[in-house]
Amino acid sequence: MKCKIIIDKNRDEEVFVYAHEKTKLVEEIENLVLGNSLELIGYKDREAVKLRPFEVCCFLVEDNRVYAITDDDKLLIKQRLYQLEETLDDSFVKINQSCIANINKIQRFNASFAGALLVVFKNGYSDYVSRRKIKTVKERLGVKL
Protein backbone atom coordinates (compact mmCIF):
# COMPACT_ATOMS: atom_id res chain seq x y z
CA MET A 1 0.00 0.00 0.00
CA LYS A 2 1.38 3.39 -0.97
CA CYS A 3 1.47 6.18 1.62
CA LYS A 4 1.47 9.88 0.90
CA ILE A 5 1.42 12.66 3.49
CA ILE A 6 0.75 16.24 2.42
CA ILE A 7 1.57 18.95 4.90
CA ASP A 8 -0.71 21.88 4.18
CA LYS A 9 -1.71 24.21 6.98
CA ASN A 10 -4.42 25.85 4.85
CA ARG A 11 -6.56 22.71 4.49
CA ASP A 12 -8.71 20.78 6.97
CA GLU A 13 -7.00 17.68 8.35
CA GLU A 14 -8.41 14.50 6.81
CA VAL A 15 -7.28 10.97 5.97
CA PHE A 16 -8.29 9.03 2.82
CA VAL A 17 -7.61 5.33 2.43
CA TYR A 18 -8.02 3.65 -0.97
CA ALA A 19 -8.09 -0.11 -0.48
CA HIS A 20 -9.31 -3.17 -2.40
CA GLU A 21 -10.99 -4.53 0.71
CA LYS A 22 -11.34 -3.76 4.41
CA THR A 23 -8.29 -5.51 5.81
CA LYS A 24 -6.93 -5.51 9.37
CA LEU A 25 -4.52 -2.74 8.39
CA VAL A 26 -7.39 -0.60 7.09
CA GLU A 27 -9.31 -1.21 10.32
CA GLU A 28 -6.26 -0.26 12.35
CA ILE A 29 -5.83 2.97 10.38
CA GLU A 30 -9.54 3.73 10.88
CA ASN A 31 -9.31 3.04 14.61
CA LEU A 32 -6.20 5.15 14.92
CA VAL A 33 -7.73 8.09 13.06
CA LEU A 34 -11.08 7.88 14.86
CA GLY A 35 -9.34 7.28 18.16
CA ASN A 36 -7.27 10.33 17.55
CA SER A 37 -10.29 12.51 16.92
CA LEU A 38 -12.05 11.48 20.16
CA GLU A 39 -10.91 13.52 23.10
CA LEU A 40 -11.56 12.88 26.75
CA ILE A 41 -10.97 15.05 29.75
CA GLY A 42 -9.11 13.54 32.66
CA TYR A 43 -8.64 15.17 36.04
CA LYS A 44 -5.59 15.11 38.25
CA ASP A 45 -5.40 17.23 41.41
CA ARG A 46 -8.49 19.13 40.13
CA GLU A 47 -6.64 20.07 36.96
CA ALA A 48 -8.20 19.09 33.65
CA VAL A 49 -5.98 17.23 31.20
CA LYS A 50 -6.83 16.44 27.54
CA LEU A 51 -6.63 12.75 26.87
CA ARG A 52 -6.77 10.69 23.67
CA PRO A 53 -8.10 7.12 24.00
CA PHE A 54 -5.03 5.57 22.32
CA GLU A 55 -2.91 6.95 25.20
CA VAL A 56 -4.97 5.00 27.75
CA CYS A 57 -4.02 1.48 28.87
CA CYS A 58 -7.36 0.88 30.52
CA PHE A 59 -10.37 2.52 32.11
CA LEU A 60 -11.31 1.13 35.49
CA VAL A 61 -13.76 1.65 38.30
CA GLU A 62 -12.43 2.14 41.81
CA ASP A 63 -14.67 3.25 44.69
CA ASN A 64 -17.45 4.06 42.20
CA ARG A 65 -15.17 6.42 40.28
CA VAL A 66 -13.84 5.89 36.77
CA TYR A 67 -10.12 6.31 36.17
CA ALA A 68 -8.01 6.23 33.03
CA ILE A 69 -4.68 4.48 33.50
CA THR A 70 -2.08 5.81 31.07
CA ASP A 71 1.57 4.78 30.67
CA ASP A 72 2.60 6.87 33.66
CA ASP A 73 -0.51 8.42 35.18
CA LYS A 74 -3.94 7.80 36.65
CA LEU A 75 -6.63 10.34 35.77
CA LEU A 76 -10.17 10.69 37.01
CA ILE A 77 -12.79 10.56 34.23
CA LYS A 78 -16.25 12.08 34.69
CA GLN A 79 -18.06 9.64 32.34
CA ARG A 80 -19.44 6.31 33.50
CA LEU A 81 -17.85 3.09 32.29
CA TYR A 82 -20.86 2.11 30.14
CA GLN A 83 -20.74 5.53 28.41
CA LEU A 84 -17.06 5.01 27.60
CA GLU A 85 -17.81 1.51 26.33
CA GLU A 86 -20.32 2.96 23.86
CA THR A 87 -17.93 5.69 22.67
CA LEU A 88 -14.65 3.80 22.39
CA ASP A 89 -13.61 1.98 19.21
CA ASP A 90 -12.78 -1.69 18.62
CA SER A 91 -9.31 -1.43 20.10
CA PHE A 92 -11.01 -1.38 23.50
CA VAL A 93 -12.63 -4.39 25.10
CA LYS A 94 -14.34 -4.84 28.45
CA ILE A 95 -12.36 -7.51 30.31
CA ASN A 96 -14.38 -7.57 33.53
CA GLN A 97 -17.22 -5.70 35.20
CA SER A 98 -14.99 -2.77 36.10
CA CYS A 99 -12.28 -2.56 33.46
CA ILE A 100 -12.11 -1.67 29.76
CA ALA A 101 -8.72 -2.54 28.27
CA ASN A 102 -6.90 -1.07 25.27
CA ILE A 103 -5.76 -4.09 23.24
CA ASN A 104 -2.86 -2.11 21.76
CA LYS A 105 -1.51 -1.48 25.27
CA ILE A 106 -1.58 -5.11 26.39
CA GLN A 107 1.87 -6.58 26.81
CA ARG A 108 0.84 -10.17 27.51
CA PHE A 109 -1.73 -12.51 29.00
CA ASN A 110 -0.75 -14.65 31.99
CA ALA A 111 -2.36 -17.57 33.77
CA SER A 112 -2.53 -16.88 37.49
CA PHE A 113 -2.19 -19.67 40.07
CA ALA A 114 -5.62 -18.69 41.34
CA GLY A 115 -7.06 -19.91 38.04
CA ALA A 116 -7.69 -16.51 36.49
CA LEU A 117 -6.55 -15.08 33.17
CA LEU A 118 -4.47 -11.98 33.85
CA VAL A 119 -3.87 -9.09 31.48
CA VAL A 120 -0.52 -7.36 31.93
CA PHE A 121 -0.35 -3.92 30.36
CA LYS A 122 2.78 -2.29 28.94
CA ASN A 123 2.95 0.05 31.95
CA GLY A 124 3.04 -2.92 34.35
CA TYR A 125 -0.55 -2.63 35.60
CA SER A 126 -2.48 -5.91 35.58
CA ASP A 127 -6.11 -6.92 35.83
CA TYR A 128 -7.99 -10.18 35.30
CA VAL A 129 -10.32 -11.26 32.50
CA SER A 130 -13.58 -12.51 33.99
CA ARG A 131 -14.85 -15.88 32.72
CA ARG A 132 -17.88 -14.36 31.03
CA LYS A 133 -15.66 -11.90 29.11
CA ILE A 134 -13.16 -14.47 27.79
CA LYS A 135 -15.33 -15.14 24.72
CA THR A 136 -15.54 -11.42 23.87
CA VAL A 137 -11.76 -11.02 24.20
CA LYS A 138 -11.26 -14.13 22.02
CA GLU A 139 -13.47 -12.67 19.30
CA ARG A 140 -11.80 -9.28 19.49
CA LEU A 141 -8.34 -10.76 19.17
CA GLY A 142 -9.45 -12.99 16.31
CA VAL A 143 -8.73 -16.24 18.13
CA LYS A 144 -10.66 -19.15 16.60
CA LEU A 145 -13.36 -20.44 18.97
Binding site: F109, A111, G115, A116, L118, Y128, L141
Partner: protein, 138 residues
Protein backbone atom coordinates in the same frame (compact mmCIF):
# COMPACT_ATOMS: atom_id res chain seq x y z
CA UNK B 1 -20.73 -4.39 54.04
CA UNK B 2 -17.37 -5.53 52.69
CA UNK B 3 -17.73 -6.07 48.90
CA UNK B 4 -16.10 -9.51 49.06
CA UNK B 5 -18.41 -10.68 51.85
CA UNK B 6 -21.34 -9.35 49.83
CA UNK B 7 -20.07 -11.24 46.79
CA UNK B 8 -19.63 -14.41 48.91
CA UNK B 9 -23.25 -14.22 50.13
CA UNK B 10 -24.56 -13.31 46.69
CA UNK B 11 -22.88 -16.28 44.97
CA UNK B 12 -23.85 -18.57 47.83
CA UNK B 13 -27.52 -17.61 47.55
CA UNK B 14 -27.52 -18.10 43.78
CA UNK B 15 -25.90 -21.54 43.74
CA UNK B 16 -26.83 -22.89 47.18
CA UNK B 17 -29.99 -24.49 45.77
CA UNK B 18 -27.94 -26.87 43.64
CA UNK B 19 -26.89 -28.80 46.78
CA UNK B 20 -30.36 -30.23 47.57
CA UNK B 21 -30.90 -30.93 43.84
CA UNK B 22 -27.73 -33.07 43.79
CA UNK B 23 -28.92 -34.78 47.01
CA UNK B 24 -32.24 -35.56 45.32
CA UNK B 25 -30.50 -37.03 42.26
CA UNK B 26 -28.17 -39.16 44.43
CA UNK B 27 -31.17 -40.34 46.50
CA UNK B 28 -33.00 -41.29 43.30
CA UNK B 29 -30.00 -43.24 41.95
CA UNK B 30 -29.51 -45.05 45.27
CA UNK B 31 -33.17 -45.93 45.60
CA UNK B 32 -33.13 -47.49 42.10
CA UNK B 33 -29.83 -49.34 42.54
CA UNK B 34 -29.96 -50.51 46.17
CA UNK B 35 -32.75 -52.79 47.25
CA UNK B 36 -34.81 -51.56 50.23
CA UNK B 37 -32.92 -48.27 50.31
CA UNK B 38 -34.63 -45.63 52.39
CA UNK B 39 -33.76 -42.60 54.50
CA UNK B 40 -35.60 -41.36 57.56
CA UNK B 41 -37.11 -37.89 57.72
CA UNK B 42 -34.37 -36.53 60.00
CA UNK B 43 -31.61 -38.05 57.83
CA UNK B 44 -33.11 -36.59 54.67
CA UNK B 45 -33.60 -33.19 56.33
CA UNK B 46 -29.98 -33.14 57.55
CA UNK B 47 -28.78 -34.13 54.07
CA UNK B 48 -30.80 -31.35 52.40
CA UNK B 49 -29.67 -28.65 54.83
CA UNK B 50 -26.02 -29.69 54.88
CA UNK B 51 -25.76 -29.98 51.08
CA UNK B 52 -27.37 -26.55 50.77
CA UNK B 53 -24.71 -25.12 53.12
CA UNK B 54 -22.03 -27.04 51.21
CA UNK B 55 -23.08 -25.62 47.84
CA UNK B 56 -23.42 -22.16 49.43
CA UNK B 57 -19.87 -22.25 50.82
CA UNK B 58 -18.44 -23.89 47.69
CA UNK B 59 -19.73 -21.21 45.34
CA UNK B 60 -19.10 -18.35 47.76
CA UNK B 61 -15.50 -19.43 48.41
CA UNK B 62 -14.53 -18.62 44.81
CA UNK B 63 -14.44 -15.00 45.95
CA UNK B 64 -11.12 -15.69 47.72
CA UNK B 65 -9.45 -15.92 44.31
CA UNK B 66 -10.55 -12.40 43.47
CA UNK B 67 -9.19 -10.52 46.47
CA UNK B 68 -6.42 -8.73 44.61
CA UNK B 69 -4.67 -7.46 47.72
CA UNK B 70 -4.06 -11.03 48.91
CA UNK B 71 -1.06 -13.04 47.71
CA UNK B 72 -1.99 -16.07 45.58
CA UNK B 73 -0.83 -18.57 48.22
CA UNK B 74 -3.10 -16.98 50.83
CA UNK B 75 -6.19 -17.01 48.59
CA UNK B 76 -5.50 -20.60 47.52
CA UNK B 77 -5.01 -21.69 51.14
CA UNK B 78 -8.19 -19.94 52.30
CA UNK B 79 -10.16 -21.47 49.42
CA UNK B 80 -8.79 -24.95 50.14
CA UNK B 81 -9.28 -24.79 53.92
CA UNK B 82 -12.83 -23.37 53.64
CA UNK B 83 -13.87 -26.14 51.25
CA UNK B 84 -12.13 -28.80 53.34
CA UNK B 85 -13.88 -27.63 56.52
CA UNK B 86 -17.28 -27.49 54.78
CA UNK B 87 -16.92 -30.93 53.16
CA UNK B 88 -15.60 -32.61 56.33
CA UNK B 89 -18.40 -31.19 58.49
CA UNK B 90 -21.02 -32.18 55.91
CA UNK B 91 -19.69 -35.74 55.57
CA UNK B 92 -19.44 -36.23 59.36
CA UNK B 93 -22.85 -34.69 60.10
CA UNK B 94 -24.52 -37.03 57.62
CA UNK B 95 -22.46 -40.02 58.81
CA UNK B 96 -21.23 -40.51 55.23
CA UNK B 97 -17.85 -41.19 56.86
CA UNK B 98 -17.37 -42.41 60.44
CA UNK B 99 -15.63 -40.28 63.05
CA UNK B 100 -12.41 -42.27 62.89
CA UNK B 101 -8.99 -40.65 62.40
CA UNK B 102 -7.89 -43.30 59.87
CA UNK B 103 -10.97 -42.72 57.74
CA UNK B 104 -10.52 -38.96 58.12
CA UNK B 105 -6.94 -39.31 56.93
CA UNK B 106 -8.00 -41.21 53.80
CA UNK B 107 -10.80 -38.69 53.22
CA UNK B 108 -8.28 -35.81 53.53
CA UNK B 109 -5.88 -37.49 51.09
CA UNK B 110 -8.65 -38.05 48.51
CA UNK B 111 -9.90 -34.49 49.01
CA UNK B 112 -6.41 -33.02 48.44
CA UNK B 113 -5.77 -35.14 45.33
CA UNK B 114 -9.14 -34.20 43.77
CA UNK B 115 -8.71 -30.51 44.73
CA UNK B 116 -5.27 -30.26 43.12
CA UNK B 117 -6.34 -32.29 40.06
CA UNK B 118 -9.21 -29.83 39.46
CA UNK B 119 -6.88 -26.88 40.09
CA UNK B 120 -4.33 -28.29 37.61
CA UNK B 121 -7.01 -28.74 34.92
CA UNK B 122 -8.19 -25.13 35.36
CA UNK B 123 -4.61 -23.82 35.38
CA UNK B 124 -3.60 -25.72 32.22
CA UNK B 125 -6.76 -24.59 30.43
CA UNK B 126 -6.10 -20.93 31.36
CA UNK B 127 -2.43 -21.31 30.39
CA UNK B 128 -3.44 -22.57 26.92
CA UNK B 129 -5.90 -19.70 26.52
CA UNK B 130 -3.24 -17.14 27.49
CA UNK B 131 -0.83 -18.71 24.99
CA UNK B 132 -3.43 -18.41 22.20
CA UNK B 133 -4.15 -14.79 23.14
CA UNK B 134 -0.45 -13.89 23.30
CA UNK B 135 0.11 -15.25 19.80
CA UNK B 136 -2.43 -12.71 18.52
CA UNK B 137 -0.82 -9.72 20.22
CA UNK B 138 1.42 -7.73 17.94
Amino acid sequence: MNKYLKSFLHRGLIFGGFGPIVTGIVYLILSYTIEDFSLGGVEMFTAIISTYVLAFVHSGASVFNQIESWPIAKSLLCHLSTLYAAYTCCYLMNSWIPFDWRVLLIFTAIFMVVYFAVWLCVFVSIKLTSKKFNSKLS
